[in-house]
Amino acid sequence: MTARKENPALRGNAGLLRSDKKPANGKTKKLILVGSPNVGKSVIFNSLTGSYVTVSNYPGTTVEVTRGKGRFYQEVYEVVDTPGMYSLFPITEEERVTRTLLFREKPDVVVHVVDAKNLERMLPLTLQLLEAGLPVILTVNMMDEAEAMGRRIDLLRLSEILGIPVVGTAATSHHGLDLLKKAVVEYVRKRVA
């Protein structure tokens, strides 16, 4: 992908806005959850993290960012739950904060959570995240509801086309979350290797 080839600054360099975080090869890895409102992001966040959760306003805004820690397959991750986002081109304050977070925090992996029933509306953001050169895993949530509506999604094919891991989940009933954790760990390992 051109975006990546021409982007030597994917990580480890000063960003558009300067980074205030340590480089990603430290012990704790960073996972940022993004997605539009009402896709089950918070449920996924809760199942990925333990009890050490902090909520704070993003500096200079009234927008809340939730952070927690989770351990998947012996690896410790800082998990950041971001305010709802529809596009990398921000309209609301929430979207602006999320974009700034993505700019600044140099995530090891960005998990984009989408609603299986509304893939049409949400896939463009996945494409944007990829265009931005971010390490994306696509999580297609609410698979159960989509199936109940008569929708079938070929996740494997979608993963082939996008060239990134795609995981199907039904977070409210805890389906697929282990798969997601596994995908995160494998993806990050592969990218470091």
């Binding site: 080839k5 021409e6 000063a14 927008v63 079938r152 990218r191």
Partner: protein, 488 residues
């Protein structure tokens, strides 16, 4: 390491030739390093993203050339480039999805469809909303939470055991009367501040959160938003604002916090104003309902007048405030049966968060009341307010109700309760006091949150409007009712 990062990455989004050419040119001109790919920076530049433009302008020596590319590309399209790029990306997404998604429409279960329909059609939706309000809010939160639970925790536990024990302990161990009064007795930190937080607010807010989480997880709220959207548009809000405003009926302080989820600053300000002015919180609502329920005509007058003020002020502020009306887009998720574990978890974490946020304010309010009493400032204010009370057609001791109402909304309402019980108020006076009290106070906690969320200028402007406006409404209402010779 950028190229070896994703060896399996095969995806590439191509735009039309003109845009691709512009992107290539801009990417070549970019010198600085960015956290996002150059292609994304170029895309954002073409869409004239202000933040990115500013950053690029300040650090790129080639900015004039870059800007030329943007301008010449822009001139080649009739529509805004933002629109062109979004459209092409959407088309790309659609073509991907056509390869992976298969929809075979199933007939949704009859029950589901039926429920779906009745929640959003006004003819059935409005009665359903009233039923939910009656059982969910009035019965469960108002009667069970604010009644049964509060009676038990506050009446039995605090009045019966905890307060006497603290009072005795303080009386025995602390020799100074003023410190005693700070810690215990009528206005003490423990006996008033903490008691309010634990015994009155927690059960009410707890039951409210439970009901609210249930509605939230069932998928009803977006439908409610759709239902009231048309009315809310008239007052400068969209249907989504129904969530913080409904929350206001539990606690305006918390609702003011939640109003940050609204999209535009304009909406947030209107919502904050309406919350402070015309939405009585659960504690206040409970006492008011109990008071006015004995006189149905008074209850109807009070409710009608407050709703009128709500709509009128909303309508006017939407006219006065600059900015565009909100657009409404919210998807309708299917109705689903909520999962008990999720609801309990949500309710508990909300209660915990709320409690942590509210306790310091209650303690501060206790200290302020104590200081006001001890220094005689309160008495001076009450005496000074006598003419105002007379303008409202009220006895002078009503001033105490308003003063304490500022510290705690329900405290003011509770004072009103005492006044009425002592037979000091006529029906008209009762309604006038109830209306003025409902409109008048953003309690001190709510005011503090307004300061924090909206900034001091907006918060002061809102308070500066509400204080005189509430009394003006009371005076007008008193004039109208007495002129008409109604006794209620």
């Amino acid at each position: 390491m950028s190229e070896s990062v994703l060896p399996d990455q095969g995806f590439k989004l191509r735009y039309d030739e003109t845009i691709e050419k512009a992107l290539t040119e801009i990417e070549k001109l970019l010198r600085a390093r960015y956290a996002f790919s150059r292609r994304m920076i170029a895309l954002l530049l073409l869409q004239e993203d202000e933040e990115v433009l500013k950053a690029v302008k300040s650090r790129e020596p080639n900015f004039p050339q870059i800007f030329n590319v943007i301008r010449s590309t822009r001139e080649k399209y009739r529509e805004h480039l933002r629109y062109v790029i979004t459209l092409q990306r959407q088309q790309h997404a659609n073509s991907i999805l056509s390869q992976v998604v298969q929809d075979t429409p199933v007939k949704g279960s009859r029950l589901n469809k039926w429920l779906d329909g009745i929640t959003i059609r006004p003819l059935t939706g409005v009665p359903l909303l009233l039923l939910i309000m009656y059982f969910g809010l009035y019965k469960f939160v108002g009667q069970f939470g604010a009644g049964t639970l509060v009676d038990f925790i506050e009446g039995r536990l605090f009045e019966g055991y905890i307060n006497p024990w603290i009072n005795q302990l303080v009386a025995e161990t602390i020799p100074w009367p003023s410190i005693r009064a700070l810690l215990a007795f009528d206005y003490g930190i423990f006996t008033l501040g903490l008691r309010y937080a634990v015994a009155i607010i927690l059960p009410i807010v707890g039951t409210y959160f439970l009901a609210f989480s249930l509605l939230e997880d069932s998928g009803y709220l977006p439908r409610l938003a759709l239902l009231v959207d048309a009315v809310f548009k008239k007052i400068g809000l969209n249907g989504r604002a129904v969530i913080p405003l409904t929350l206001g009926f539990a606690c305006d302080t918390m609702a003011t916090l939640v109003s940050r989820t609204l999209e535009t600053k304009r909406e947030r300000i209107i919502a904050t104003l309406l919350l402070a002015l015309a939405i009585p919180c659960s504690a206040q609502l409970g006492v008011m309902l109990g008071l006015l329920a004995e006189r149905p005509a008074a209850l109807v007058t009070w409710a009608g007048f407050v709703i009128l003020v709500f709509l009128l002020v909303g309508y006017l502020s939407a006219k006065v405030m600059p900015g565009e009306g909100p657009a409404f887009y919210m998807e309708l998720p299917p109705l689903r049966v909520p999962r008990l574990a999720n609801i309990l978890e949500k309710t508990l974490s909300r209660m915990q968060w709320y409690f942590m946020e509210i306790v310091p304010f209650f303690i501060a309010a206790s200290v302020l009341i104590w200081a006001g009493k001890i220094t005689g400032v309160f008495d001076a204010i009450i005496n000074g307010a006598a003419p105002l009370m007379h303008a409202l057609g009220l006895p002078s001791q009503a001033a105490e109700v308003f003063l304490f109402g500022f510290f705690r909304r329900d405290y003011g309402a509770a004072g009103l309760y005492d006044l009425q019980k002592s037979g000091a108020l006529s029906g008209v006076q009762l309604v006038v006091t109830a209306v003025t009290l409902t409109l008048f106070v953003p309690c001190i906690a709510q005011f503090a949150i307004m300061l924090k969320e909206r900034g001091w200028r907006t918060a002061l402007a809102i308070a500066g409007f509400i204080f005189p406006f509430a009394f003006l409404c009371g005076i007008v209402l008193n004039l109208v009712l007495t002129t008409l010779g109604l006794s209620l």
